[in-house]
């Protein structure tokens, strides 16, 4: 049947995560640090509100852009937290996860051949989503010695006459790298000089632990060229509800709504009701989860460093991205051998981009008990590798 596939789809590379999933899924007693979603179940009040809405008979479509009450809440939330000003009626769209918002935004702005910049190591969906929209992904490789922080010169180097937009993700999946206002501003300058659009994926914005968060469109003159993408999956522990949103200039958001109305109609109604409750009354639940992630971040980072895996402190999201170069293994070897020998699943860094080689992604959205056990197992695993290895190893730097 392959001859029937569209060329675009046939050319898509299978996700490296998928391959690793198949391997891990066959095994018993796996402790997984490979999961990109919260370990918390959705807070009960959100679930209960969704029950209530269903009981009341809210089982039909909503407006294409999402319930107006929810768009008002999103607008109010962004205003209160990040000092942003978006009109609920034409600058906010509620989507099926941030995933759909990314897809809609790309399909809205990309003409065939347009280049869109992706900053690697990156969330695995950006590159294929750009290709599917008919664009050409151009990748930037951030450097380990910069703590995987994007530098303005790197954007300059990637820009060509065809560059239309850049995808930013702050805090970043998989590195947990967090960019402050001072680090974002020089990027904004280059972006303005070259008249680029920005798709700013801020789905982990609430999950930052040390410093205040600056939303990209709140930087001077960036709002008019930014589509802000976020959602309820991570901060509110609502991955399975499939609910996200995008905000931006009215022309771009209306164009996104146009695609959305023909291809999706609207985001799930029961999920929209749960999200309404999350924004109205979910602050405490969110804060409790953030406190817990922060403690576990502290725990995993100090444990990894003790084990001998060099791990800088990630400022956000729920991922640690330690170097495994001291073991002399590649990322894929490390992840596979660790899974076979100690039944701990981590994600090899190279699936997030070539510069992820030499690193692994460890999610700490896992109970402390499991994390503790995972660290014991990894300690055993790494100790054996460090013993075997000659003290001098130039190849691994």
């Amino acid at each position: 049947m392959n001859q029937y596939l569209s060329k675009q789809v046939a050319d898509l590379k299978p996700s490296g995560i998928r391959k690793f999933f198949d391997l891990a899924a066959q095994m018993d007693d796996v402790i997984s640090l490979g999961v990109g979603e919260p370990d918390f179940v959705t807070p009960w009040t959100f679930i209960e509100q969704s029950f209530h809405a269903l009981e009341q008979g809210y089982t039909s479509y909503t407006e294409n852009a999402g319930m107006i009450e929810l768009r008002e809440q999103i607008s109010g939330y962004l205003n209160k937290n990040y000092n942003l000003d978006y009109q609920p009626d034409d600058q906010v769209i509620v989507t099926v996860g941030a995933s759909q918002a990314i897809d809609l935004a790309l399909r809205t702005i990309v003409n065939p051949g347009d280049e869109v910049i992706v900053v690697e190591p990156s969330f695995v969906a950006y590159v294929p989503a750009i290709s599917l929209a008919g664009g050409t992904p151009v990748t930037i490789q951030t450097k380990a010695e910069d703590a995987f922080k994007l530098k303005p010169e790197q954007i300059e180097e990637a820009i060509t006459p065809k560059t239309k937009a850049i995808m930013l993700c702050n805090p970043n999946n998989p590195t947990g790298t967090f960019l402050t206002k001072e680090e974002l501003e020089p990027l904004a300058e280059v972006i303005e000089q070259h008249d680029l659009l920005v798709l700013s994926d801020e789905i982990y914005a609430e999950l930052t632990y040390d410093e205040n968060y600056t939303s990209f469109p709140s930087i001077a003159r960036m709002k008019e060229r930014t589509i802000l993408i976020s959602g309820f999956s991570k901060a509110f522990a609502m991955t399975g509800w499939r609910l996200g949103y995008a905000t931006g200039p009215a022309e771009l958001i209306s164009a996104m709504v146009k695609i959305h109305q023909y291809t999706m109609m609207c985001a799930p109604t029961m999920a929209q009701h749960a999200a309404l409750e999350a924004l109205k009354n979910g602050r405490q639940s969110l804060q409790d989860m953030v406190d817990s992630y922060k403690q576990r971040r502290n725990f995993i980072v100090s444990s990894l460093n003790e084990i001998g895996l060099d791990c800088p402190n990630p400022g956000g999201a729920f991922y640690a991205f330690p170097s495994i170069q001291a073991t002399g293994l590649t990322s894929a070897e490390f992840a596979e051998e660790l899974l076979q020998e100690e039944q701990v699943a981590v994600v090899p860094g190279d699936v997030f981009g070539a510069n992820g080689e030499g690193y692994i992604r460890c999610s700490y959205a896992t109970s402390l008990k499991q994390l503790d056990e995972a660290m014991e197992r990894m300690k055993r695993f790494v100790a054996k590798r460090l013993e075997k290895k000659p003290v001098h190893l130039e190849a691994s730097n």
């Binding site: 995560i17 999933f21 891990a24 490979g34 990109g36 370990d39 969330f123 502290n298 725990f299």
Partner: protein, 165 residues
């Protein structure tokens, strides 16, 4: 109270079994700093003890009965309810005493190994106290949740797929 003291208290309120080393890692501090904080909090009696929540229903031959007793009393001049509360909370059978707003004054939780034993305590000791006007006793039939912890056997399996983006 300092922010990290509150953080420490919240952690050990949920799990008193966490080692000093683990607490230090979770909070990004040194073990010695944690020990010092705990000593300080014990000294000022913010930490009063370390107990374990046990579901005695799961332990053979160790079943226990709990009663919640609504007690109406006459407060005494000068000391209000405190004196009579003290007369009540000194009994080891009494596990909790609260002064309440509303239809009665003191809510007293009493624990014993049989209903007979509790009945005896209430009729002999509690209701005979001079300032006690009346008691209404409610026996607990089943505990679902205690101190924020659900006692039912919940399925707490991780329902997430093993590896995801």
């Amino acid at each position: 109270m300092m922010e990290h003291e509150v953080e420490l208290l919240k952690l050990i309120e949920k799990n008193a079994n966490l080692s000093v080393n683990k607490l230090a890692k979770l909070m990004g501090k040194k073990p010695a700093e944690i020990e010092e904080m705990i000593a300080h909090l014990e000294e000022k009696k913010a930490i009063l003890g370390y107990s374990t929540l046990i579901d005695w229903a799961k332990v053979a031959n160790e079943e226990e009965v709990t009663a919640m007793v609504d007690v109406k009393v006459t407060p005494a001049r000068g000391v209000g309810f405190d004196k009579v509360a003290e007369r009540i909370y000194r009994f080891p059978e009494v596990k909790a005493v609260y002064l309440m707003s509303g239809a009665y004054d003191l809510s007293v939780s009493v624990r014993g190994s049989t209903m007979m034993e509790i009945g005896h305590f209430i009729s002999e000791k509690l209701s005979t106290l001079e300032s006690v006007l009346s008691t209404t006793t409610h026996f607990v039939l089943k505990k679902y949740k205690h101190d924020g912890i659900i006692l039912e056997d919940e399925d707490d399996d991780d329902k997430r797929i093993v590896v995801s983006p």
